[in-house]
């Protein structure tokens, strides 16, 4: 690994403390530092691009990789030893400011020393070497790992977590929990399965495999396995040729920007969508067990709706006995300037489940409540049942977020970035359209003509940046993205727009 210095303490002392796990000590030692000083002292002062991307070294490596791995979706081939903080380095030594962060996944910077110490600890290494089947043979400290990590950041009103492996997995197990819950309510508490249910389930037929549905929204993305893909409605390329369940989609509000000039029209649009939701719940050919929704539709184009919309949706689902699942796979863990994006809504009653994954790093989780535990064991079960090393890593991520107050940083940097982009949009009105993400941290996006060309051009000026939907540029920087990074980003966007 590159030798790294995070501000203040030397790595040695940090590593020792992290290995012995004393987050309190961490926090008290660092909490008073000003947010304006850089988190990473060893980041470059600006991007550096010395070859076309991909350059000659990268091209050769991509050719070699293509023999064994589909490289048609490859964006950059990277050197993760040299990458640091907000900077991603490719095989030709180009050093880009990264506001895409492995599709919104890297939480606290490349080669973060605290995470390095966390995963190098004997506790973490032991769980890789001795992989427990957690449902059957959990380690003695599993409760403590969950309580001091994942559950310490549980959304308000939820105190249980199901530990899985990835976003799709988290989503699909939450759907399974919803179906089992629905049938339990319909059947009546304590009522046994009938012989007909048992027999028909083995044939994939009703009533054992019941005709029940999950409702999602147009443009939603919830994953790519068979159940999750049946609720994904982002792009045809994600869905073509794959059998799907006959489940319904409601319209997601298509808001007009700027919001302040379109208040009435947007309110009507949200009302129309809510009416559609209620219509579908009442009239669909089978019962709807749950409604699933992203706080901000991410893959589908960074589509927003108002807190009023989400509060009304919660109210409708509650009234009809339909579970309400919030998919925070991409929005969760600080990026919107609150720990959970749905914290912005101030719901009167909590959601039934919240899924998340990306910034939890190769893991997938859903939060729930005790009612969602199935009536019998082995109904929500698999060999791994999550990954203890990844749970320890996520605890380390939470510690780093708390130590550096990174949710606040993201809220503040985001506010600065949004208002600067608004100014830029006034200067280049045709090129930055429908700017969105006000008061949503750095979770900012806009539409631009020739989007894919713009993304490519941004690489030449040293920025790794992503798109979503048909025409959106989406910002997904890490939580360690600061004002001085924002200034570089703004300068390079203007350079690309001019060029």
């Amino acid at each position: 690994m590159t030798s790294l210095l995070l501000r203040s303490a030397p790595l040695g002392a940090r590593a020792v403390r992290a290995a012995t796990h004393q987050p309190q000590l961490f926090r008290s030692a660092y909490a008073t530092l000003s947010a304006a000083s850089p988190y990473f002292n060893n980041e470059p002062s600006k991007p550096s691009v010395t070859t076309p991307i991909p350059g000659p070294v990268s091209k050769k490596a991509i050719d070699e990789l293509n023999d064994v791995f589909d490289t048609r979706s490859l964006n950059m081939i990277c050197d993760y030893n040299k990458s640091v903080g907000n900077y991603l380095v490719d095989l030709d030594g180009n050093m880009l400011l990264d506001v895409y962060a492995q599709i919104a996944s890297i939480p606290v910077g490349y080669n973060n020393p605290h995470l390095h110490a966390t995963v190098s600890s004997p506790e973490s290494i032991n769980f890789i070497v001795n992989r427990p089947a957690l449902g059957n043979f959990p380690p003695g400290n599993w409760a403590s790992i969950l309580k001091s990590g994942i559950l310490a950041v549980a959304p308000k009103g939820l105190n249980q977590v199901f530990t899985g492996m990835a976003g799709s997995d988290a989503i699909e197990t939450s759907y399974k929990a919803a179906f089992m819950y629905r049938r339990r309510i319909e059947r009546g508490e304590g009522v046994e399965f009938t012989a007909q249910e048992i027999e028909s389930a083995m044939k994939n037929q009703s009533p054992g495999s019941p005709d029940l549905a999950i409702m999602s929204f147009k443009k939603a993305f919830h994953g790519r396995l068979f159940g999750s893909l049946s609720t994904t409605r982002s792009k045809p390329i994600h869905k073509l040729d794959i059998p799907a369940f006959d489940w319904p989609q409601a319209s997601f509000p298509v808001l007009k920007y700027p919001l302040e000039d379109n208040v009435q029209a947007n309110m009507e649009e949200e009302g129309r969508c809510l009416a559609e939701v209620e219509d579908i719940i009442i009239s669909w050919h089978c019962p709807i067990a749950a409604v699933v929704i992203e706080p901000i539709q991410s893959e589908g184009g960074d589509n927003h709706a108002s807190p009023i919309f989400f509060k009304a949706l919660r109210e409708i689902t509650k009234r009809h006995g339909v579970l309400f699942i919030i998919d925070e796979v991409q929005t969760g863990v600080g990026a919107t300037g609150k720990f959970w994006a749905h914290d912005h809504w101030e719901l009167d009653s909590p959601p039934d489940m919240v899924t998340f994954s990306k910034k939890a790093q190769t893991a997938g989780y859903y939060f729930g409540n005790p009612l969602l535990r199935p009536n019998l064991p082995y109904r929500q079960f698999n060999t791994w049942m999550g990954d203890p090393m990844r749970a320890i890593l996520f605890r380390g991520i939470i510690e780093e977020i708390q130590r550096l107050d990174l949710v606040k940083n993201t809220a503040e940097t985001g506010a600065y970035l949004y208002s600067s982009l608004k100014d830029l949009a006034s200067k280049y009105p045709g090129k930055i359209q429908n700017l969105r993400g006000k008061d949503r941290g750095t979770f900012i996006a806009w539409d631009t003509p020739d989007r894919d060309l713009f993304l490519k051009k941004m690489k030449t000026v040293g920025i790794n940046i992503g798109g979503s939907g048909e025409s959106a540029v989406r910002l997904r920087p890490m939580l360690v993205f600061q004002k001085h990074h924002a200034n570089i980003l703004l300068e390079r966007i203007e350079q690309a727009l001019k060029g």
Copy 2:
């Protein structure tokens, strides 16, 4: 970690070599060692049970865990620092010989020093701290990791691997590959999607979301997500209340034991099942894109069929243009005395895909061929696309298997164990019935009355052992299970049968 000594070299030298990755050096230095000497010098000489299981310390920890994690499927709560080789230690210090191995997952022993060195290496740690989205931003050495690891053990005839996260994931992505391939053939090479396909896919309707099926077998287990669960037919509790696709199941042969006394009846039974397969392919309401089968049905009760059956099944699928997927999630990586269980069949033409997971340790893979790459990028894609650290770990597992010649060890230990169990079955004919797994390494099982009681009794005599199906005891020791362990196991089985 417990201080460990594997036979021969000190850990320091080993760690250095592992970190610099020189498997050839490893092999030449150790290959001449006799198989009879123990692989782990620091294993106990025998099990030790000093409290009931769970004992007082375990009980307290289980109570605490139950607040946040469903403990109704808990078997033992473990201390993975003290576990070593074939021995699993619980929180009360009970030390059990483990022939269940985290549901058939631990490959080369608890706290294996080579795996410890492998995952502690800078290369491995770097990939945990800097989690790449592999499809977009692979590291420069991804081709080399795949080629020197996973692909070095690719089944005959397959040279591509899709890297996933878990068994269900591997299975579901292999089904997606089968569906995309099927439609590509039906549509004709190079033919574009129609407007109707694109529009209907977004509504989960045909022809975009086509009516196509995967055929599986009665008692099969292929996972628990929505697509994989639709092919799982092991037990009602796995399937009840979960919507499923209307996909078919064929009968899996129900063989009579001992095989040598039932040759004619078993041949007829296999013929009946094959005829059923062909009938379903011809008459099912929609086309069958693939047939999926386990070489030995594991969760479903350790059900075997003959190589002749599997060769005929391959021939039938080929004749009808149906893909043939072998699910080696549990059988793969040495446990049957060959690296892949289907190597025992000597197929005339290779399968189309082979899935595996467990001994690959928190990862899921399917092997395939270049024809199974979809026609366009982003069709078989997700954020993680596997896990580079886990790929490095699996390479370390392969190195350890080769260094100690563990597939050969498992074949030899298995043969000894099987013949000894046969003798025991003659002595206790009512208690060891339908012994199966001859010439299948240590992948051995038998039926017993009061199976669950027997499994519990085995704990009291120091053996951690599992069941499958309704009445089977299944052996799933690690690849480092040796003759001296087998002798302890045999002695304790007899003790439990007598008691």
